[in-house]
């Protein structure tokens, strides 16, 4: 038999002014199962709390209802109170007779009657409450960072400097990402390599960081605090331990001969060629080459092997195979970045057909001192220094018909940078920029764009390019200046398209593996656009950088540090404590339709095999991972057989309240 104690608070005059608290207590005492009911001036005060504690002991209470303010105000307080008296905190409920009664009703009769009913509802509910124990989930205090661009580098360093171990997995042969390809960076024009290289080296040397380059995450099992990740380290065919990075192999590889090489250099976006054994760029970390088997003569027809012969460290090993390693981690930061839509992919404006129509990243390489032209701006077709350059912004962005509808956010800024840097290199040159709007929100950003226009003489034309064709070795760009209303025609030597920023191909597959939602374009979704920008709905998985949306470096770094601080926060505990108000499956009645799995926003539903003693599979049922469940209850509502209950909000508890309204 239940022995419920009801404690009615006056909240000074706040409740007592409109609710006759003594009468509510009197009424409560008459309810079946109520062993004790009192009213008191301030239940949350020390004497008030002591009153509850004493009553629990003296009356052997099995449940408590505190009728006072909103549970959002004092539920924690009163749960602690009852716990001190030895009662499970989840056997305490609150009836909100202040915010939802005394403060919103003036009629004392009506308010008192309602307060009585609210108490009755909670008394009926609490009779069905059960003792719940907090869920403890152990935490492996080691993080996995996927992607070694500036986002991944920053996150890895922050976590490592916070004293925790990090595994950084980069798909390519070197870390660095797109930032390593950039020349100078807005809005300060510092050289990208100069600020980037020290960070890359720090990653390499950090005692807390294990770096896997040329590697990919193949499988992720487990949940927050307890992930098991499988990583495939692709065969480099060069022993990382032996290689000294002397570069002898690269210079001798016959596939890399300047005149004859056909292998496009990815780092230069095809603007140069590279050998079959290569380091993507001089500052690469690690400075260890990889063999591109598709183009290596040894792998293609068994002849050659020059690199092996010339290597003084005997590091080249053609027999190397992929290695698969498994690592236990407690948190995952996804920092897989973005891709630009190539000018060929966009198709409009002659991209992919005319060699002198290039994209923004290619132009970065032309500007870069370590680029294919040594930092001199020379156009791809004939190496001529372009005297007129047309930049076209929003090439593919904000373009529903040919590209993507969203704004790529960074192009306005880098286009202004391009116009400026071009002017710095080709003093007599003229830059024209076709744009739709200039979006330069950010500290010193608008000033930067204005400098490009006012000081560096870039001509900004508001309007879209209608036609672009080749004529006499030049590119004729036709468009309209919508501000003056005049048609314009420019004979350009080079055209640079600010093509759209896109999610990496395969980001959807990665997202599915991590159970992170993603939008229609493949960008990964944060848990809440405002309040939880670096968390995801997959507990323990965080986002950093352009994999979430187009971003510039400052924003990327800020988000990476935020993700790292979330990870460090999680790692500050040996065990995570989670609210026990999670769902639980009745395995006997579950039929394994897994509709619950489809509606669970957190991927908390697992499949559990039920076997007989001989090991024969009887059925597969749903199982809620308590470490992941957020307690929303969507599964319980969806299950037709009534096989899932959300603890703390069970059907019984709700029914008891509904029935109590009708009395």
């Amino acid at each position: 038999m239940a022995r419920v104690g009801v404690f009615i608070c006056h909240c000074g005059e706040n409740i007592a002014r409109t609710v006759d608290c003594a009468r509510v207590a009197e009424y409560a005492a008459t309810l079946p199962g109520v062993a004790h009911a009192v009213d008191y001036r301030y239940m949350c005060s020390d004497p008030g709390q002591r009153l509850i504690e004493t009553a629990i002991r003296e009356h052997g209470l099995t449940g408590v209802v505190v009728a006072s303010c909103s549970p959002h105000m004092h539920e924690v307080t009163f749960r602690r109170t009852v716990a001190r008296a030895g009662l499970n905190p989840f056997l305490c409920e609150m009836a909100n007779i202040r915010e939802q009664c005394s403060w919103v009703h003036e009629d004392r009769e009506a308010a008192t009657a309602k307060a009585c009913e609210l108490v009755r509802l909670m008394v009926e509910k609490v009779k069905w409450n059960t003792a719940l124990e907090p869920i403890h989930v152990p935490v492996t205090r080691k993080a996995l960072v996927i992607g070694g661009g500036i986002a991944g580098i920053q996150a890895a360093l922050d976590i490592a400097n916070g004293g925790r171990e990090v595994i950084l997995v980069e798909k390519g042969p070197s870390i660095g990402g797109h930032m390593a390809q950039l020349s100078e960076t807005f809005p300060t024009l510092d050289c990208s390599q100069c600020i980037m290289t020290p960070r890359m080296v720090e990653v390499k040397n950090h005692p807390n960081i294990t770096l896997y380059t040329y590697a990919e995450v193949e499988k992720v099992d487990g949940y927050i605090g307890n992930f098991a990740v499988t990583i495939r380290k692709k065969a480099r065919c060069v022993d990382e331990a032996l290689c000294t990075g002397c570069g002898e192999c690269q210079s001798k590889c016959p596939q890399g001969k300047l005149k004859t090489s056909v292998i496009p250099n990815e780092f230069d976006l095809g603007l140069s060629r590279r050998p079959a054994i290569y380091v993507p760029f001089p500052q690469a970390v690690p400075n260890v080459p990889v063999i591109d088997k598709e183009h290596c003569r040894y792998f293609q027809d068994g002849k050659c092997g020059v690199c092996q012969k010339v290597c003084p460290a005997k590091a080249v090993d053609f027999t190397q195979t992929d290695q698969v390693v498994t690592e236990q981690v407690g948190a995952i930061v996804v920092a897989t970045g973005y891709d630009v839509m190539s000018s060929g992919e966009y198709g409009e404006y002659g991209g992919g057909r005319y060699p002198d129509v290039i994209d923004g990243l290619q132009f970065e390489r032309l500007l870069s001192a370590s680029g294919p032209t040594g930092g001199e701006v020379k156009r791809p077709s004939d190496g001529k220094v372009p005297e007129t350059v047309v930049f076209i912004a929003c090439a593919g962005s904000r373009d529903r018909s040919h590209g993507v509808p969203y704004c790529s956010k960074i192009c306005c800024m880098y286009t202004a940078k391009h116009a400026m840097l071009y002017k710095h290199k080709v003093h007599h040159g003229q830059a024209y920029v076709f744009y739709m709007d200039i979006r330069a929100g950010g500290k010193n950003y608008d000033e930067f764009v204005r400098r490009a226009i006012e000081e560096e003489g870039a001509v900004y034309l508001r309007g879209r390019v209608s036609r672009l064709y080749q004529k006499d070795g030049q590119l004729i760009v036709k468009g309209a200046d919508t501000l003056s209303g005049q048609p314009v025609e420019i004979a350009a030597d080079l055209v640079v398209l600010a093509t759209a920023i896109q999610a990496r191909p395969g980001s959807d597959a990665l997202a599915q593996m991590l159970k992170v939602p993603y939008d229609g374009y493949g960008f990964l979704s944060e848990a809440h656009p405002k309040l939880r920008p670096v968390e995801t709905n997959s507990a323990g998985v965080y986002l950093a950088g352009a994999c979430q949306a187009p971003k510039d470096i400052p924003e990327t770094v800020a988000q990476a540090s935020a993700a790292a601080s979330k990870v460090l926060g999680l790692f500050s505990m040996e065990q995570m404590e989670r609210e026990p108000t999670v769902s639980v499956v009745n395995e006997r009645t579950c039929i394994g339709c897994f509709d619950c799995e489809r509606v669970c926003p957190f991927g908390a539903i697992e499949h559990r095999e039920i076997r007989d003693r001989r090991g024969n599979l009887l059925k597969v049922v749903s199982h809620v991972n308590e470490g992941v469940c957020a307690g929303c209850g969507a599964c319980a509502t969806t299950c037709r057989s009534g096989s899932i209950e959300l603890r703390g909000y069970t059907d019984e508890q709700v029914f008891a309240q509904i029935a109590a309204v009708g009395v």
Binding site: E106, K114, I658
Partner: protein, 447 residues
């Protein structure tokens, strides 16, 4: 002082994060509103089962309000989107059953919308107060209102001569081959029933027995009901299926009750089946005449003769009734229910091992076959088949009390089609409509 006017009891189911907090804000801002609403707090609208609404009506609530976070603001990201889909259907179902739509309210109230909450409660209370008390208890007819009846015009059945016989021959041949080759252990088909002009399910496990199998216009049963059950004989099962039966298999595939390779399907191109001496109404305009999943498809289908489904007119007539008439129409039918659960046994999609109807703790459906028990049973049955029922007609055919269950099923199928552009039993890879959502799902009914 309490006035003498009717003071309705209104149950409000609200989510913890937005509406409950919004209601708190109305309190801290001392906004005044009527004292008729009793809040029941749940974590999320995703947890607010539509069946709670039913339960509140069953327990005598005069009005029900459901409120949660605005789309995009759900604390659990998607709970309100899932809930919105459920309410869309459930609400239409209650209307169709004759519950006055003015007694049900759905809204999004954010944590900042104290004003909206106060105004909403005032409006809800006022509306329900003006409506007056419910005109009858849950499952009881409204007094003084006749229970209208519907009658349908039978469509004569004309099967093209010879088609059934030729198909039957080919089907038996296939069945023999499957059994003889050991590919299956059992073939489930039809055989002549005890009464002339009937057919019943037949289970054959040797080639010799195959000659018992028949195929004709009386083969109306949906044999897919046996698909997810363990066969008595070892080996796979082959099922003789009509195109509509096959659609229920799609549902079973979607819900992991079955894997496609577990069954062999002998698909029968369809000419419609007979019911009570005439063409079964559901067949009149049925366009799905050729099986889509089956391993062999036997015969050529006959195109439908009618352009419109005659049952749609019945639905339209029910919709034209006043709520109280509609209510009594259904109470009239449900009052005959014996709670024999023949409808459930005949349904190939009712695959729960323990039906909610049998769950004693808590009791979702009052056990006795009385007004409340019957109405709740039929509401839950229809609700659980919303977005899943493939209109095979098995439940209505099985009902010894002739309750037109198909009307309720078909109505919900229409709602699902209109609201979510989804038809059950078409695509095994599709997510069932109540387990998914679109951010832009319609929501005119939510204020």
């Amino acid at each position: 002082m309490m006035s003498d006017t009717f003071e309705p009891k209104i149950v409000a189911f609200v989510c913890n994060w937005c509406t409950y907090t919004g209601a708190d804000l109305a309190g801290t801002s001392r906004m005044q509103y009527p004292a008729n609403v009793r809040i029941i707090k749940l974590p999320c609208t995703g947890r607010i089962s539509p069946l709670f609404i039913m339960k509140a009506l069953e327990q005598g609530a005069d009005g029900v309000l459901v409120s949660g976070c605005h789309p995009g603001d759900c604390h659990y990201t998607a709970g309100n989107y899932h809930a919105r889909r459920k309410y869309t259907i459930f609400r239409e179902m209650l209307h169709f059953l004759g519950v006055e739509p003015e007694r049900l309210f759905f809204s999004w109230v954010s944590a900042a919308e104290g004003r909206k909450w106060a105004d909403l409660v005032a409006e809800v209370t006022d509306t329900v107060r003006r409506l007056g008390p419910r005109r009858s208890a849950w499952g009881e007819p409204v007094e003084g209102i006749a229970a209208p009846r519907l009658s349908a015009n039978p469509v004569p059945f004309e099967a093209p001569a010879g088609t059934f016989a030729a198909q039957a021959e080919a089907m038996r041949e296939k069945a023999k081959a499957l059994l003889a080759g050991g590919e299956v252990g059992t073939v489930i088909g039809y055989e002549q029933g005890t009464l002339p002009g009937t057919a019943r399910p037949a289970f054959v496990s040797t080639p010799e027995e195959v000659d018992r199998l028949v195929w004709n216009e009386h083969c109306h049963q949906n044999l897919a009901v046996y698909a997810a059950r363990k066969p008595a004989k070892p080996g796979k099962v082959a099922l003789v299926v009509k195109p509509c039966d096959e659609r229920s298999l799609v549902g079973l595939l979607q819900e992991n009750r079955l894997a496609r390779e577990d069954v062999v399907l002998i698909g029968m191109a369809c000419h419609g089946v007979q019911s009570e001496g005439a063409l079964a109404p559901r067949c009149a305009a049925c366009q799905t005449r050729t099986p889509a999943l089956a391993d062999p498809v036997i015969g050529e289908a006959t195109p439908p003769t009618a352009t419109a489904d005659p049952r749609l007119e019945q639905i339209a007539r029910i919709e034209q009734m006043a709520p109280a008439e509609r209510w009594n129409f259904w109470q009239g039918h449900f009052s005959r229910c014996l709670k024999c659960y023949a409808c459930r046994a005949a349904c190939s999609l009712c695959t729960c091992e323990r039906c909610l109807a049998e769950k004693a703790q808590p009791r979702w459906i009052p056990a006795p076959p009385d007004g409340a028990g019957n109405l709740s049973w039929h509401a839950v049955r229809a609700w659980h088949l919303a977005g899943r029922c493939v209109d095979c007609g098995a439940c209505s055919a099985a009902c010894p009390a002739d309750i037109p269950l198909y009307l309720l099923n078909l109505k919900l199928a229409q709602v699902v089609k209109d609201a979510f552009d989804y038809e059950a039993g078409r695509d095994p890879a599709a997510a069932p409509p109540l387990t998914t959502y679109r951010e832009d799902d319609a929501q005119e009914f939510i204020r």
